[in-house]
């Protein structure tokens, strides 16, 4: 009769392994029966029972082992480990190299996996995260989903449909006065329910409630804990304090705890001050789409339900019959919107580092194989002394286990360091960056994988070595060479794959940065100024007067050669977008949605812009004497393909709107890239005087030190208007650098991985050639003694290794070509199958690889034939 085996019995059986085999076979069963009865008695105090049991078996088994003159399985394992440690200590060079190689592979893989897991795989850290949807508006001619307008947001709040809750946020830069100097603050406008949705808790006072969102409510403000501590000095009496926000007295009602982390949407920054969006007006705005809306579905409701509901509401607010620019609505999973295309980048990185791990494993395998052969005599002695093949293989495996453990341990440190580096160096646009932290699960998983990898990888070398030790075969085997050749082949192929990938990214980066941005950026300093600091209700005449005089005074600063105002920072995101009807589109149902750049002062001359057709603005036009515009080449391509642009007309507003004014195109200018490497969008450039702006950039052309100019400019602005907040002042060159942050990050990441992979492969080539040449010294000695020229011997050895490298490279190029589709999405300029890149990599790898083979070939053939021909020991 069989009884179920309990966990206790299983543990007990493990304990029995302490005893030698014959003893266990004789008494083990009896002891188990004894144990079961004893456990029944002792079960009330299991811990005490087990402790006594362990003590008893450890001491009894020691006496028994002495009686048998041998060891139990466990003791012999301990013994194997000790032996392995000693063996590894004897060859510190090998041990350190193998550990570091493994650590690099394991560490980088762990880091990449953790990043992918944290950013893309895990649900967002909010309640009901899988039911969160991002709501957006489709606008004609816009490929991306746009945000929603206040009118739409108000309608959605009124009727949430299948959603449990709908919230919206809008960002606005504002000027805060009443606390020290006027400062520019990052204001977040929120709708009712915003704090509840993202689980905000007040640490002081209260959060915004329904009453705060009423149209008649007093202006209230909630500040973040970070802002409260850094800017308000952690003042405990802050609740009730009145500050001035954009000229409106506003009462601070509470402080939200730092655990409140709403998702960053549409490039928004972490909020510092939160105010009500104030949608309860009689007529909410319909023309501006800036509110990021998120809905949490009711349980059981589907995305399709919400899609239908949002589309219905959008149709009601913007009836298609009225012929507007809103074409519909759409919903997307919030996580998709937050994480964006980073997920695929991370998958690429993970694929690359996994290749690196495989290369590291192949390398270690190669090293172990060579090590096994070179220890032939030691192992043969052990075999002759009676060690079984199994025992020798077990001892060698013990070495591998220790190597794996050390590699994984060091790898964990590498992973932690890599993640810290990623947090520091990654472009700040990477979502959920703060969540990228090493966790126990990822570390265990990858370290376990590393350990398994080295055991599996070490198995063949261990079996080879142990077989040879016990079958009295020659230490040098052809089979070994074949396996080693195969490993070098694989290593080279994998390294080439990575090198091609990184070379493509590097080439792309070079192409992007060497591309002409469309204007001169040297010596330009850009200062960001918020217009909201100007007195409210200022007439546009006075405002323009003020800006004109500020520009004049800036131009007369020492070291400044030009000063101009512009509505959008070079390489910044599109600021103004308007609806226009270009000539010839009068019968189209809707107008064109065109980004607009307003410029003033010396902008066109300071950036050295040259017209392709027509001319630039005259000074009178810059002062706003009539409606004129410049368009870029893409504009002409899109709306008047193969035709002249200069002299044509563009009506402001859609075709259905009566005359709001018509711009005359005075000239066509080259495309100005906003995102380097990406195709330019159509753009209109209008004189600043024709626009009223919320935000402006003052561009100064200078040949002096930008830091000095920045100081002078700060003083100047403070003198002109003490209420005007001074924000970032930076060189346009720095902006250009920031604009390629993502491609640069990818290029650096892949470049460093490829460098590591290539050096590992070279080390493999070098080591294998060195080893095989050393083994062939007798043969080489004979050839030299028979009169063969040394150069020929060197050539033979090098060619043999070179053939393997060549084969590996060819294979690697093929794999790279297949895998390059992975990269084609991130490459902005370079085609994924760029023949030059593939050719260059092939030539480089084959020549460096051959050099790595030539070096040892040259060294080891520099021998005295007589010495190598002398009879050798065993």
């Amino acid at each position: 009769m069989t009884r179920p085996t309990t966990l206790n019995v299983r543990v007990f059986r493990l304990l029995l392994k302490l005893y030698p085999g014959p003893y266990r076979r004789k008494y083990g069963r009896e002891m188990e029966l004894f144990f079961e009865e004893a456990y029944e008695e002792g079960r009330t105090q299991p811990i005490r029972f087990w402790l006594a049991e362990f003590r008893d078996h450890v001491s009894a088994s020691r006496r028994i082992r002495r009686r048998y003159g041998g060891e139990g399985t466990m003791m012999s394992l301990v013994h194997d480990m000790r032996w392995a440690m000693r063996a590894l200590r004897r060859t510190p060079g090998f041990t350190v190299f193998a550990t570091v190689v493994l650590a690099l592979g394991v560490g980088t893989t762990t880091a990449a996996f953790t990043a992918l897991d944290r950013v893309a795989l895990r649900p967002l850290p909010y309640q009901g995260a899988d039911r969160l949807l991002y709501l957006g508006t489709r606008i004609k001619d816009q490929t991306n989903l746009s945000a929603v307008s206040p009118a739409l947001m108000a309608a959605l709040l009124e009727s949430p449909g299948p959603a449990e809750a709908v919230v919206g946020l809008g960002g606005a830069e504002s000027v805060l006065t009443g606390i020290g100097d006027p400062t520019r603050v990052n204001l977040t406008q929120v709708t009712a329910g915003y704090f509840e949705m993202w689980e905000g808790r007040p640490i002081l006072g209260r959060l915004l409630t329904g009453a705060d969102h009423e149209a008649t409510a007093a202006h209230t403000l909630v500040v973040s804990e970070g802002y409260w501590r850094s800017r308000l000095g952690g003042d405990p009496d802050v609740v009730g304090r009145v500050v001035n926000l954009n000229g409106r007295p506003t009462t601070i009602v509470g402080v939200v705890s730092k655990a409140f982390r709403p998702p960053l949407l549409g490039g928004s920054r972490t909020g510092e001050l939160f105010v009500s969006m104030g949608l309860r007006q009689s007529e909410p705005e319909r023309g501006r789409f800036f509110i990021r809306a998120v809905a949490r579905l009711q349980r059981g409701a589907s995305k399709a339900d919400m899609n239908r509901h949002v589309s219905g509401i959008t149709r009601a607010v913007y009836p298609p019959s009225a012929g507007g620019f809103v074409t519909g609505a759409a919903t997307r999973d919030l996580k998709e919107v937050v994480v964006g295309d980073v997920s695929s980048s991370l998958q690429r990185a993970l694929a690359a580092v996994t290749l690196l791990l495989v290369i590291a494993c192949v390398n270690v395998s190669n090293l172990l194989l060579a090590r096994g052969s070179s220890r032939h005599s030691e192992l043969t002695v052990r075999g002759a002394l009676g060690a079984s093949r199994r025992r020798i293989a077990r001892q060698l495996t013990a070495e591998n286990v220790i190597l794996g453990a050390m590699g994984s341990g060091l790898g964990a440190l590498v992973a932690v360091a890599t993640l810290a580096a990623v947090r520091t160096w990654a472009p700040p646009t990477l979502p959920r960056l703060a969540e990228i932290r090493p966790d126990a699960l990822a570390l265990c998983l990858s370290c376990g994988a590393g350990l398994c990898a080295v055991i599996v990888v070490g198995l063949i070398p261990s079996l080879q070595a142990s077989r040879r030790a016990t079958t009295a075969r020659s230490g040098r085997s052809r089979e070994d060479m074949k396996i080693q050749g195969g490993l070098v082949f694989a290593e080279t192929a994998l390294a080439v794959t990575l090198v091609v990938g990184s070379a493509l990214l590097a080439k792309d980066l070079i192409d992007i940065t060497s591309q002409d941005p469309g204007f001169a950026i040297d010596g330009l300093v850009s200062a960001q100024i918020s217009v909201r600091g100007r007195p409210a209700g200022e007439s546009s005449e006075t405002a323009h007067q003020f800006w004109r005089s500020l520009t004049e005074r800036a131009r007369s600063l020492p070291g400044v050669s030009s000063a101009s105002l512009v509505s959008q920072q070079p390489f910044g995101s599109a600021g103004m977008v308007g609806i226009y009807t270009p000539e010839g589109m009068e019968d189209a149902p809707q107008g064109a949605w065109v980004p607009t750049l307003a410029v003033g002062g010396d902008y066109l001359s300071a950036t050295n812009m040259r017209p392709l057709e027509g001319r630039l603005f005259t000074p009178a036009e810059l002062e706003g004497d009539r409606l004129v515009t410049l368009v870029n080449a893409s504009f002409v391509d899109r709306y008047w393909p193969n035709e002249e642009g200069a002299g044509r007309r563009i009506k402001s507003g859609g075709p259905d709107i009566d005359d709001e004014g018509t711009y005359e195109v005075v000239g066509v200018v080259p495309d100005v890239s906003q995102e380097p490497g990406l195709p330019a969008e159509p753009l209109m450039i209008v004189p600043m005087a024709l626009e009223s702006l919320r935000e402006m950039f003052l561009l100064l052309g200078t040949d002096a030190d930008p830091a000095l100019v920045a100081d002078a400019l700060r003083n100047l602005i403070r003198q002109s208007d003490p209420g005007l907040p001074i924000t970032s002042i930076t060189t346009v060159e720095a902006l250009a650098r920031d604009a390629v942050a993502t491609p640069r990050f990818l290029a650096v990441l892949f470049g460093s991985l490829a460098a590591v992979a290539l050096s590992l492969a070279l080390a493999g080539i070098y080591g294998t050639t060195a080893y095989s040449t050393e083994k062939r010294q007798r043969e080489i000695g004979i050839r030299l003694a028979l009169g063969a020229p040394r150069s020929r011997v060197v050539r033979d050895v090098t060619l043999r290794a070179g053939a393997v490298v060549l084969g590996g490279t060819a294979c690697g190029l093929g794999v790279a070509a297949l895998a390059s589709t992975f990269l084609s999405e991130v490459l902005r300029q370079t085609p994924a199958l760029h023949p030059g890149v593939y050719g260059a990599v092939a030539i480089a790898v084959v020549s460096i690889g051959s050099a790595a083979a030539w070096l040892p070939a040259n060294t080891y053939t520099r021998v005295d034939p007589m010495k190598t021909l002398r009879p050798q020991g065993p």
Binding site: K26, Y27, R29, M31, F34, A38, A52, D56, A60
Partner: protein, 109 residues
């Protein structure tokens, strides 16, 4: 002879027993002051078997458990019996000598 060995032999002197039976007899007689666990017990059993002081015997009639697997029973051998008697008389001599000493005499107490 160690206390444990003596106690095991004494237990088997009562008649054949399996491992757990030995433990129960010893603990009952010593009120639990001598504790036997499987490691120590079978180590002693192996040693005593090697010295031919005990041997394996077929389970006594009527003591074969109804359901569980058969257990090995051990009994004292001739040699074991002599060794036990010798040890006890040696201890007896020691005890008698000790009691004759004035400062340990029971009369004094």
């Amino acid at each position: 002879m160690t206390t444990r060995t003596l106690q095991i032999l004494l237990a088997l002197a009562e008649g054949p027993a399996h491992g757990y039976g030995v433990k129960q007899r010893v603990e009952r007689r010593t009120n639990g002051t001598v504790e036997l666990r499987s490691g120590t017990l079978y180590e002693a059993i192996q040693r005593l078997e090697g010295q031919r002081a005990i041997k394996e015997v077929p389970p006594p009639k009527g003591e074969v458990p109804s359901g569980g697997p058969p257990k090995r029973y051990y009994a004292l051998t001739e040699e074991g019996y002599h060794a036990l008697v010798q040890e006890i008389s040696r201890m007896d001599a020691v005890v008698r000598h000790a009691k004759s000493l004035p400062f340990l005499s029971t009369e004094r107490a």
